[in-house]
C-alpha cells in the first residue's frame, strides 16, 4: 500500500482496475441470473417442462403437448420479455444519465406516452392490428422525441426544460389516449387496455424476430456511444474539454434512447417502470458507476421476474406483466425520490 501511495499513478490505476473488476463481476452475476430466470420462465408455471424434455424439444424432437406449449407460447414470450426488458433498461439508463436526473426516464418524459397514443390511434381509428401497431408506436415515440428536442432547444445544460416539456406532452397525450378509449366499443377498449399495460401475452416468433433485429442494430450503437455518455456525466463543459462533441453525442444518445424505448414499447406495450428502475438499480449494484450492459441485464431480469409473478399470481388468468412492474415500481420509486432528495440529487 505504501508503495502505491508513493506513486499516485499506480494508485489511480489500481482503483480503476478494482472498479472495472467490480463491473465485470456484477455483469457476469447478472447474466447468470437472467439466464436462470429465463429458464425458470420457460420451464415452470402452470405447465411444467423438465430440463431433459426442454433440451429434446430444442433438438427437434416432437413431444405431444409440451412441444407446442414451449415452442409457440413459453419460449417466444420469454425471448420477447428478455429483449424488451434489456431495451427498456438501456434506454432508461441512457436518458437518466443524459438528463442527469434519476426521474427523467422515457416513461416520465412522454416518449412511451407518444408511442401509446399512436398505437391506440391505430387500433381504434385505423383498425390496424399486429405489426402495423408496432410501426405506429415507433413513429409516435420518435415524433415526441423530435418535438421535445425542438421545443427544448436553447434550454442550455440544465435539461430542466426538456423534462418539463416532456411532462406537458405526456399529459396531453394521455388525454388523447383517454379520448380514443371512449370512442371505441368496449371489446376494443379491453384489448387496448391490455396493450396499454404492457403484456407479453401476444408474443409470437415473428415479433421476437423483429425485436431481435431492432435491438441487434441499436444495442451495438449504444455500446459505441457509451464512452461519450461517461464523458457527459462529468458535465458538458468538462466533456467538451475532453474532446467529446457534446451537441452531437447528446442528440445521438437521445435518439438512441427513444428508439430503444419505442421499439420495446412496440413489441410489448409500455411496461411500466422498467426503464425507470433499471438504471438506478444497476447503479446501486455497481456502487455508483454507470454501465449500460448492467442496466440492460437488470431490465431483462425485472421483466422476466415480473412475468413469472404475473403468469402464476392469479390461477387461470395471465395478468399483463406491466401490472406487476407497476405495483412493485411505485413503492420503489417513492423510496428513490426520498433518498435521492436527501442527498440533493432529486432535481
Amino acid at each position: 500500500m505504501s508503495v502505491l501511495l508513493d506513486r499516485p499513478a499506480a494508485l489511480v490505476r489500481s482503483v480503476h482496475r478494482a472498479r472495472r473488476r467490480r463491473v465485470r463481476r456484477t455483469v457476469a452475476a447478472l447474466t447468470v441470473a437472467v439466464l436462470a430466470m429465463f429458464l425458470v420462465d420457460v420451464l415452470l408455471g402452470t405447465y411444467t417442462v423438465t430440463m431433459p424434455d426442454f433440451l429434446r424439444i430444442l433438438g427437434g424432437t416432437e413431444i405431444p403437448g409440451a412441444s407446442f406449449i414451449v415452442m409457440e407460447n413459453k419460449l417466444p414470450r420469454a425471448v420477447v420479455g428478455l429483449l424488451a426488458g434489456a431495451a427498456f433498461g438501456v434506454s432508461g439508463a441512457v436518458c437518466q444519465t443524459l438528463l442527469r436526473n434519476p426521474l427523467a426516464s422515457p416513461d416520465v418524459i412522454g416518449v412511451t406516452s407518444g408511442a401509446s397514443a399512436a398505437a391506440v390511434l391505430g387500433i381504434v381509428v385505423l383498425g390496424v392490428r399486429g405489426q402495423g401497431v408496432s410501426w405506429l408506436a415507433l413513429a409516435g415515440g420518435l415524433l415526441v422525441a423530435l418535438t421535445l428536442h425542438v421545443m427544448a432547444r436553447g434550454g442550455g445544460a440544465s435539461c430542466h426544460r426538456l423534462v418539463l416539456v416532456g411532462i406537458g406532452c405526456a399529459a396531453l397525450l394521455q388525454a388523447v389516449t383517454s379520448y380514443l378509449l371512449t370512442r371505441s366499443d368496449i371489446r376494443t377498449a379491453s384489448e387496448v387496455m391490455v396493450w396499454l399495460n404492457g403484456s407479453l401475452n401476444d408474443s409470437t416468433w415473428e415479433r421476437a424476430a423483429h425485436l431481435l433485429l431492432a435491438t441487434g442494430l441499436l444495442l451495438p450503437v449504444a455500446a459505441h456511444l457509451a464512452h461519450g455518455l461517461r464523458g457527459l456525466e462529468l458535465g458538458d463543459d468538462a466533456a467538451a474539454g475532453l474532446g467529446v462533441p457534446v451537441a452531437r453525442v447528446r442528440l445521438g444518445l437521445l435518439l438512441l434512447a427513444v428508439a430503444l424505448a419505442a421499439v420495446a414499447t412496440a413489441a410489448t406495450g409500455p411496461v411500466a417502470f422498467v426503464a425507470f428502475l433499471s438504471g438506478p438499480i444497476a447503479r446501486r449494484l455497481l456502487g455508483g458507476a454507470v454501465s449500460l450492459p448492467a442496466a440492460g441485464l437488470v431490465g431483462a431480469l425485472v421483466v422476466l421476474a415480473a412475468e413469472l409473478v404475473a403468469a402464476n399470481l392469479v390461477p387461470g388468468a395471465v395478468l399483463p406483466v406491466g401490472v406487476v412492474t407497476g405495483a412493485l415500481g411505485a413503492p420503489f420509486l417513492l423510496w428513490l425520490l426520498v433518498t435521492g432528495s436527501r442527498v440533493g440529487r432529486g432535481g
Binding site: A189, F273, F276
Partner: protein
Amino acid sequence: MGISTTVAARGGGVAQTGSARRGTAPGWVLLAAALVLLACVASLAFGARPLSWATLVEAWTDFDPADGDHAVIASRVPRTVIGLLVGAALGLAGAAMQGVARNPLADPGLLGVNAGAALAVVAAMFVLGQSSLTSLVWFAVLGAGIAAVVVYAVASLGREGATPVKLALAGAALSAGLASLTNGVLVTSQETLDAFRFWQIGSVAGRSWGDVAPVVPLLAVGAVVTLGTGRALNGLALGDDLARGLGQKVALSRAVVALGVVLLCGAATAVAGPIAFVGLVVPHVGRALVGGDYRWVLPLSGLLGAALLVGADVAGRLVLPPSEVQAGVMTAVLGAPVFLWLVRRSRGVAL
C-alpha cells in the same frame, strides 16, 4: 407574474403592483363575471341541435315542457351548472396550490392529485361494485388528499425544498405509478373499465342533478376555506421566514390551504373526472391581470376557471359535430400549449 420571477421579486411585486393595480382589480373581477355569464349563455345556446336566439329567450321567459327545443335547452342546464362549479373549483384550487407551493407549475392534474382520486375511485368501483357518484366522492377526496401529501412531502425533502422541477417530476412519477395500478384493476374487470373510461376522460356531460347534489356542500366548504386564505397566501409569498417574522403561523396556513385544495379537487374530480390544465393556466392569467395579491387572484381565478371550463365544454360540442369532444380533452388541448409556453418563456433560470 411569471415562472421566471423569483419569490423575492414576487413578494416585492405585491407591494408595488398591488397598490398600482388595486384600483383596477374589481373591474377585472366584474369583467370575469361577465365572461362567465357569456359562457353560460353560449352553453345553453350552442350544441348538436342548432337553436335560434329567439327560442332561447322564449324558453327563458315562457318555458313550455312540451316544446322539444325548450327541452333541449333545459337539458343543457345541468352540464352548464356542473361546468361552472367544477371550473371554479379547479381554478381556485390551482391558484391556492401555486400560492402555497410557491410554484408556478402547480396544478392538480400535473401533481398527481387527480391520479390519486382516480385510483381511489376505481378501487371503490371495483371492490364495492358501485358506480354511483354519491358513494365515490369521499373516496376521491381521500385519494386526492393522500396523493397531494405524498407528492409535496417527497418533493420538499432536500436542501432546496420543493422546486418546480422536483414537484413536477414527483407528480408525474407518482401519476405514472398510480395510473399503472389503476390500469391493473381495469384489466381484470371489464365492467369497471366500461364505467371508468367515460369518467377518466373528464367531462361535464351526462350528469344529473342527483349526481351533483352530494358534492355541492364539499365544494362550498372548500371554496369558503380557500377564499379565506388570501391574506395567508400573501404572507407565504414572502417566504416562510419573513411570514413567520410577521406573526403568521406558517404550518397552520399551509394545512388550511391544503385542506381547501383537497376538498375542491376531490369533489370536482368526483363529479367531472380528472380535468387537467384548468388549475394551471387560469391563475397565471389572474396574476397577470391583478398582480400578486391573492385576495384578488383567488376569486378572479375561480371565475376565470368557470368561464374556461364552460367555454371548453361548448367548444367540445362544436369542433366535431355531431359527436362531442369531452371538456377534459378540450382543456388539455387548449392548456398544453400554454404550459409549454410558460416553460419556454423561462430561460432556464429559477427552474
